[in-house]
C-alpha cells in the first residue's frame, strides 16, 4: 500500500495497492500546489479508506518539472513519510509517464517530453520495458530547446501532467522486483539562475 505524490506539473495524489489505484485526486492548476496539496492528501486517504499505518511507503515524483511546484510535492512526500514513519520511494516523474504509455500499448523506443517553461522542454528517452513492464530509461532526463531536441527519430510522447496513480503503481512494481529507485533529490536540471556579483556598480556617472 503506497501513497503517491507528484507535483511536476499539476498536483496529483493517489493511494495504490499493488496494481490498483484506490484513489486519485488532484488539480491541473500549475500555480497552486501549496494550496492544494494538503487537501489532496487528506481526500485521497479518505476516499481510499486506508489507515496510515497500513502504508508501506510514500512514492515521490522527483521531476523534472518547474521548481517551485515540484518542490511542494517532494516536501510533502518527505514530511508525510517522516510523520508516518515510512520510507520515501523516489522516482523520476518521466518514468511514470513512460510507464503509462507502455501500459496503453506502446512498444519499443519512446521519447517523453514535458514543458519546462521559458521556451524549453524536458525529455527522457526509453528503449522499452523490462519483463515486469518497468520502463528502461536510456537517456535523460534532459533539458532542451524544442528545435534542438535529441532523438527525433524516436516516437514522441508529449505529456501534460504526471498521474500519481501511475507513479504509485510503478513504485510498487519497482519495490516488488527490487529495481532501483531514483536518487532522493529534485530533478531541477537548471542552475538556480543567478550570476555571482562582481562587486558594486557605480552610482555616479
Amino acid at each position: 500500500m503506497l501513497l503517491a505524490i507528484d507535483t511536476s506539473a499539476g498536483t496529483s495524489v493517489a493511494v495504490v495497492d499493488g496494481g490498483r489505484v484506490l484513489a486519485e485526486v488532484g488539480s491541473a492548476e500549475t500555480m497552486r500546489h501549496a494550496e492544494v496539496v494538503g487537501d489532496a492528501i487528506a481526500e485521497a486517504l479518505a476516499v481510499s479508506g486506508i489507515p496510515i499505518a497500513a502504508f508501506s511507503g510514500v512514492a515521490a515524483g522527483m521531476g523534472p518539472g518547474p521548481f517551485t511546484g515540484l518542490r511542494v510535492g517532494i516536501a510533502a512526500a518527505r514530511a508525510f513519510a517522516f510523520g508516518a514513519g515510512k520510507p520515501v520511494l523516489p522516482l523520476a516523474s518521466h518514468d511514470a509517464l513512460a510507464f503509462e504509455r507502455y501500459r496503453a500499448g506502446h512498444a519499443g523506443p519512446l521519447l517523453v517530453v514535458t514543458d519546462a517553461r521559458r521556451r524549453e522542454v524536458y525529455w527522457s528517452l526509453y528503449g522499452g520495458v523490462d519483463e515486469f513492464g518497468i520502463p528502461l530509461r536510456s537517456g535523460g532526463p534532459g533539458l532542451s530547446r524544442p528545435d534542438e531536441l535529441p532523438h527525433r527519430d524516436v516516437p514522441r510522447f508529449d505529456a501534460a501532467a504526471c498521474s500519481a496513480g501511475s507513479l504509485g503503481v510503478l513504485a510498487g512494481l519497482t519495490h516488488l522486483h527490487q529495481r532501483a529507485f531514483a536518487k532522493d533529490e529534485a530533478l531541477y536540471l537548471r542552475s538556480p539562475d543567478v550570476t555571482p556579483s562582481n562587486g558594486p556598480k557605480r552610482v555616479t556617472g
Binding site: E35, G38, R71, A79, F82, R202
Partner: protein, 355 residues
C-alpha cells in the same frame, strides 16, 4: 506553564533560515536552525531559488534535530504551526507543503501564522529554556532584518496587530549588505559594518535619514527608506576614490550605521509616544547590531519606555517563534486553519492567523 499547556511544533521557511522550533506553552524546548547564508555569500544577497532549494534539503534533518533536542515524539504534538507569509514565495511553499503533509500524517491541528507577528511572539520565550512569560501588551514592535523593516502596534498578539509603517524600498538589512559591498566587505554586511565601525566617528559624515524631513513625515511618519542612504554612501565613497583619496572605512561604516540606527529608533520611539504605548520590542536579525541596541536603550530610557529585546537566537528567523505564536493561538481557543491556505508573500500583519 504546565504539562497541560499545548506542545507545538513550528516550521519557518520564509527567507534563508530553515527553522523548526518546539514549545510547550511559553517554554522553549528546541530551536533548530539550518541556514543557507553561506550559499548566498557569493551572490551578495539572498537568492530566492537558492534559498528554496536549501529549505527542501534541510527540512527533515532540522525537524529531526528539533525533536531530538526537545526529547519529544511527533505523536505527542498538540499542534503544528507554519509560516504562511510574508516572505519569499518559493521558500514559504516548502514549509507550507511539508507542514500540511505532516499534519495530515499525524492527524494534528495546523495553524498557518504570520511571520512578522511571530517575531513579536518570540518575546514570550526564554532562550535558556525558562518558563517564559506573557507578552506585555500593548507594545510597539520594530522588526528589522534583511527581508523586512516594519513598525507594528500590537494590542493583542493573537487578535489585534496594526501595521504602522514599513520600508518603501530596501529592508534595513539589505542596506547593510549593499554598503558593505561598496566598502569591499563580505556578505552578510551587518556584522561586517558593525566591526568596521569600531573606532569610527559616527558624526564624521552626515548621511541622509530617509523619510525624516517634515514634508515626508506628513505622509510617511512611520515608513522607512534606505535606498537613498545606500546611494549617498556609494556616491561619497566614489567621489573619494575618484579624487585619489583613501576611504576612511571606519568613519563611513560608523556614520552609515548611525544613520540607520537613528532613523529606526527615532520612528519607533515616536510611535510609542504618539500612541501612548510605554513599551518597545525589537526583533529581526538587525537587532544583532550593537549600535541599534545601544541607541534603542538610550532613547527608550530618555523617553521612559520599557525596552524588550529577545535573545538574538530568537530575533533572527526561527521556528520557535512560530511555535510560540501557534501555542498562543491554541491557548486562546482559536480554531486550526483549514488545509487550503497558501504561501502569501505579502501577507498583511493584520492576518495573524490564516484560516
Amino acid at each position: 506553564m504546565s504539562e497541560s499547556d499545548p506542545l507545538v511544533l513550528g516550521i519557518e521557511t520564509s527567507c534563508d533560515e530553515t527553522g523548526v522550533g518546539i514549545v510547550r506553552g511559553t517554554r522553549l524546548l528546541a530551536n533548530a536552525i539550518a541556514s543557507s547564508m553561506d550559499e548566498h555569500a557569493r551572490y551578495g544577497g539572498v537568492v530566492p531559488e537558492v534559498a528554496a532549494r536549501a529549505h527542501l534539503e534541510a527540512l527533515i534533518p532540522t525537524l529531526k534535530e528539533a525533536l531530538a533536542t526537545a526529547s519529544v515524539d511527533l505523536a505527542d504534538l498538540d499542534a503544528i504551526a507554519v509560516t504562511s507569509g510574508p516572505g519569499l514565495a518559493g521558500a514559504l511553499m516548502v514549509g507550507v507543503g511539508a507542514a500540511k503533509a505532516l499534519a495530515v500524517a499525524l492527524d494534528t491541528p495546523l495553524y498557518a501564522v504570520n511571520h512578522l507577528v511571530g517575531h513579536v511572539g518570540a518575546d514570550i520565550l526564554d532562550a535558556g529554556g525558562g518558563p517564559g512569560h506573557a507578552i506585555d501588551a500593548p507594545t510597539i514592535a520594530l522588526l528589522v532584518s534583511g527581508g523586512h523593516t516594519s513598525l507594528l502596534h500590537v494590542r493583542d498578539l493573537v487578535g489585534d496587530v496594526e501595521l504602522l509603517g514599513e520600508t518603501i524600498d530596501d529592508a534595513a538589512g539589505e542596506a547593510f549588505d549593499k554598503v558593505a559591498r561598496v566598502l569591499g566587505l563580505p556578505y552578510p554586511g551587518g556584522p561586517q559594518i558593525d566591526r568596521a565601525a569600531q573606532g569610527g566617528d559616527p558624526a564624521a559624515i552626515r548621511f541622509p535619514r530617509g523619510l525624516s524631513l517634515p514634508k515626508d513625515l506628513e505622509r510617511h511618519r512611520y515608513d522607512f527608506s534606505f535606498s537613498g542612504l545606500k546611494t549617498a554612501v556609494a556616491r561619497w565613497v566614489e567621489q573619494r576614490e575618484d579624487a585619489g583619496e583613501s576611504v576612511p572605512v571606519a568613519d563611513v561604516a560608523a556614520s552609515f550605521r548611525e544613520a540607520v540606527a537613528d532613523v529606526l529608533i527615532s520612528k519607533a520611539v515616536a510611535a510609542c509616544l504618539d500612541r501612548g504605548v510605554p513599551r518597545l520590542l525589537l526583533g529581526g536579525g538587525v537587532v544583532a547590531n550593537a549600535r541599534v541596541r545601544e541607541l534603542a536603550q538610550q532613547r527608550a530610557d530618555a523617553a521612559g519606555l520599557t525596552l524588550r529585546i529577545p535573545h538574538l537566537s530568537l530575533c533572527t528567523d526561527n521556528g520557535a517563534m512560530i511555535a510560540a505564536l501557534g501555542a498562543q493561538l491554541v491557548m486562546a481557543g482559536h480554531a486550526p486553519s483549514t488545509l487550503s491556505f497558501g504561501a502569501d508573500s505579502t501577507l498583511p500583519v493584520t492576518e495573524i492567523q490564516v484560516r
